[in-house]
Point group: C2
Chain length 218, copies 2
């Protein structure tokens, strides 16, 4: 299985203790996004690809990345696609990833965080959504498509919140501490702080849209 790790430029103190994710397979290939490439090299991890405009790096840092990474890609800030969009697309289309885990996506600037969170709401990435995880020190986000899904508990996380990234219809939550009766909304809602009933999976159903499940701990 090809499991690609994307390292974005978010602050290092929010990385999880180990750069692993809930996808039960080691990361086979790393992609560094902008400053993320340098951060991977500092951890003795050589990304197979680097994407960015690298304008936040001093020349010595940039040279280090260019020297180490074979597949260097240069983005143009004026273009519509963000570096994270380019990286996600390259991971699935060029590297043929089966699964992608994204690190360094949170913290710092909130406009960046929202770019990363909302990637999965884009129609072109919908197919990939069930194969993507966003991971930081306190949170793990997975994405679900209609019509019915089981969300399994993970011992590391006490809470699970649900968010509709897109308009949603007939959204229900069953077999959870706080069930939800059929709900429809054009606007986004964060049903925070739900909990699993022991080892049982939570059942969610919805007829359209993308739902994110945010596992978290205090």
């Amino acid at each position: 299985m090809k499991h690609v790790g994307l390292m974005l430029g978010g602050p290092e103190d929010l990385w999880p203790d180990q750069l692993v994710s809930d996808i039960d397979a080691p990361i086979t290939d790393w992609v560094g996004v902008d400053r993320g490439s340098l951060r991977l090299l500092q951890q003795d991890v050589v990304p197979v690809m680097a994407i960015g405009d690298y304008d936040s790096m001093v020349p010595a840092e940039r040279h280090r990345v260019e020297h180490a990474v074979k597949d260097m890609r240069y983005s143009v800030p004026e273009k519509d696609d963000t570096d994270s969009e380019l990286a996600l697309q390259a991971a699935f289309e060029d590297l043929r990833a089966d699964e992608v885990s994204i690190f360094g996506a949170t913290g710092g600037r909130l406009d960046h965080l929202l770019v990363n969170l909302w990637l999965m709401a884009e129609p072109r990435f919908k197919e990939y959504a069930p194969h993507v995880a966003i991971v930081d020190r306190q949170n793990l986000i997975r994405f679900f498509r209609p019509p019915a899904q089981l969300v399994f508990p993970r011992t590391e996380y006490k809470y699970v919140g649900f968010v509709n990234l897109t308009p949603v219809t007939d959204f229900t939550i069953r077999n959870a501490k706080y069930p939800l009766a059929p709900f429809a909304s054009d606007y986004p809602v964060s049903w925070a702080s739900n909990e699993f009933l022991g080892d049982q999976p939570i059942q969610i159903t919805f007829s359209k849209g993308i739902i994110g499940a945010i596992y978290s701990k205090d």
Copy 2:
């Protein structure tokens, strides 16, 4: 002018250097939400009201809050409204706030962050949206309603990103480093890292929905 500060439970290291906001008036009344009440007391600020279930506090902490705060309100976790929703409503309806600035809304658990960000997308809070700011160490968020608004530069922040909290139609950005031609979307988008042209305000227009402007700095 009544300018209410809401202190939520988010990590203290993300608070801005000073507990002030861009609203050009000092905060006249503080409301503490859950652990936020204790944090205010630790800064020698006595909130006029405290809201929460206080279950993250040890008894001594809880007593300290109950001793200091006259208007104690106890929320029920099973209820639909979150503590931040209750606090925002109380600020405008009970305290008759003209403006509300929210601190401690970011960092830590992402389901909590999204609850706070999406408050302004709720139909019941739409009227209040232009009178609310969310502030942390690197970000300041303001909210805008249709049809046309001027977004003014702030010297402290280099970037401004725009996000549609709700489906949006005919959204345009003019007089900015990266203009946007009329855009419609059912799903959320974060147009990150835009910049002002000198001292000039950015002009945004849109025919429905709520747009958030995220001022930020690296």
